[in-house]
Amino acid sequence: MSGEAAEIAFDRVTKRYPGRAEPAVRELTLSVPAGEICCLVGPSGAGKTTAMKMVNRLIDISEGDITIGGTSVRSLDVTALRRGIGYVIQQVGLFPHLSVAENVATVPRLLGWPKPRITAQVDELLHLVDLPPDDYRARYPSQLSGGERQRVGLARALAANPPVMLMDEPFGALDPITRARLQHELLRIQKELRKTIVFVTHDIDEAILLGDRIAILREGGVLAQYGTPSELLARPADDFVSRFLGADRGLKLLSLRRLDELELAPLDGVAAPVAAGSTTLRDALSQMITAGSRSLVVVSPDGAPRGVVTLDILAGLAE
């Protein structure tokens, strides 16, 4: 199990704990297409971490099954299964007595890779997470900042080229600036590597930013809705989902798209403030409000006007 991304499919997965009447996860069915990020979100007690941990069998499945690339996780040897899945947790869990390079090399060593291959892989991954190997290879975790630690955690999870990654609130303990930076780094890395990622978070904005798909779970481990961020934002299935998405879900929907993607109205000599095509619709709306204008002229990178976006166009989008 390495290299090519694989689909992860939950098939009526239920988790019951002995002595508790209600299951922690109830008949969860969803599939994460190969190479996509699926964010599991929900309030605490919604079973999102439980659902994730059943993929690498840190928690046993009570009923139902999970398959990776068509193979049931139950049919595999548990240590082999885990070594084939990248695992990142909020507290990172770096081994304090091992250097950065040794931490990253953990799984390749367990898999018995030859030394030169491990060294090359470690350097490549440290480059990938933007930690220059010459500077960081020999450091111990105690010599790193919080953000650097989680970069090492990410590199360590990617070390053996797993097709699948599990990430449990990996950026939850970081300050907002570092978090935003790492979120974008993850997107950059994902563009390159195309892993299938199950990403647990309680932060809906993070889920909207990172997820190709979002699964919203409610208390008792019931799937409330599963879909792309724009599907969820445009058509929440019920009150719970719409409350969870927040009162500003219209604005969140606008933040998912850019002016370039819209059908613009003709110029017709309109005099209005100018906005670049790469502006998000949310920022465009904000610009209209601050400029007191009901329309903006959208320009291409060379400054040539391409068309006009109006308040009416924005307001009609959610339909």
């Binding site: 690498n56 840190l58 548990v78 240590t79 082999a80 299964l81 885990r82 070594r83 084939g84 695992y87 947790i89 507290q91 990172v92 869990g93 770096l94 081994f95 304090p96 007595h97 091992l98 250097s99 953990t106 799984v107 367990l110 450091r139 111990y140 105690s142 010599q143 900042s145 955690g153 360590r156 999870a157 599990l166």
Partner: protein, 244 residues
């Protein structure tokens, strides 16, 4: 006083006879370096070597037992209490009483001494080893499990290395206290730095008492220093400071 060797008929000694030697020895002054020099290879050095042996054997066996016990209790919590109670009881028995209890069984032998010395190391070594194993942060253990380390791999590659500082702290206390305690072994066997002290006490011969005592103190300091160096060499990661 005149010279030490009286001519003709030896007078009845009024003070203990310290045999041939310098004025210093004969007069039993506080400390006579010449006696130390004369008796280094015949008395003090052998006693020092025996003392080191007694200590090393006691701590090595005590550590082996404690490590196994700690590893077992790390897995089976139930086993902890009996071992703690046992080692704590042993620890509280006065050493003289313990020798008295053991002599009928094992006789006036090295075994008697070692059994007692080992007994006194158990509590500190066991507690520190177990504490070290338990002190491994839970996120580290979860990461290890999630990455597919087996329990055995987790123990050898993660838990034991991370327990080294606590284990070394226990070893330092155990070694220093065993060096002090091993002087009492002279009550049972004619070995160790306690033996010259034991002999010298009968005659109140100052130099020998002080020389052997200083050697025991010096040995403890040197052993402790060596263990500190060993710990530093074993845990380079524990010394590093945050750079930012």
């Amino acid at each position: 006083m005149t010279g030490p060797l009286a001519q003709g008929e030896p007078a009845e000694p009024v003070i203990p006879d310290f045999g041939e030697g310098s004025d210093c020895v004969v007069e039993n002054r506080l400390f006579c370096p010449d006696w130390v020099a004369d008796n280094w290879s015949g008395v003090l050095q052998p006693a020092l070597v025996e003392h080191v042996k007694l200590t090393v054997i006691a701590v090595a066996i005590g550590f082996a037992i404690s490590l196994v016990a700690a590893l077992v209790t790390h897995r089976l919590r139930l086993a902890e209490k009996p071992f703690v109670v046992f080692s704590a009881i042993v620890y509280t028995i006065p050493s003289l009483a313990l020798f008295q209890l053991l002599v009928p069984v094992t006789g006036l032998t090295v075994t008697t001494v070692e059994v007692a010395l080992v007994g006194y190391t158990l509590l500190i070594l066991y507690r520190n080893t177990l504490e070290g194993l338990r002190g491994v942060p839970s996120d580290v253990l979860e990461a290890a499990r999630g990455m597919g380390l087996t329990r055995r791999q987790t123990l050898w590659r993660i838990e034991l290395p991370l327990a080294v500082p606590a284990i070394m702290a226990g070893l330092r206390v155990a070694v220093v206290s065993t060096i002090a305690l091993a002087t009492v072994a002279a009550l049972v066997i004619p070995e160790g730095l306690g033996y010259p002290i034991f002999l010298a006490l009968r005659e109140a011969f100052n130099t020998e008492i002080i020389a052997a005592g200083l050697l025991a103190i010096g040995l403890a300091l040197v052993a402790d220093g060596l263990l500190v160096l060993a710990e530093r060499a074993l845990t380079p990661w524990a010394r590093t400071r945050r750079v930012r």
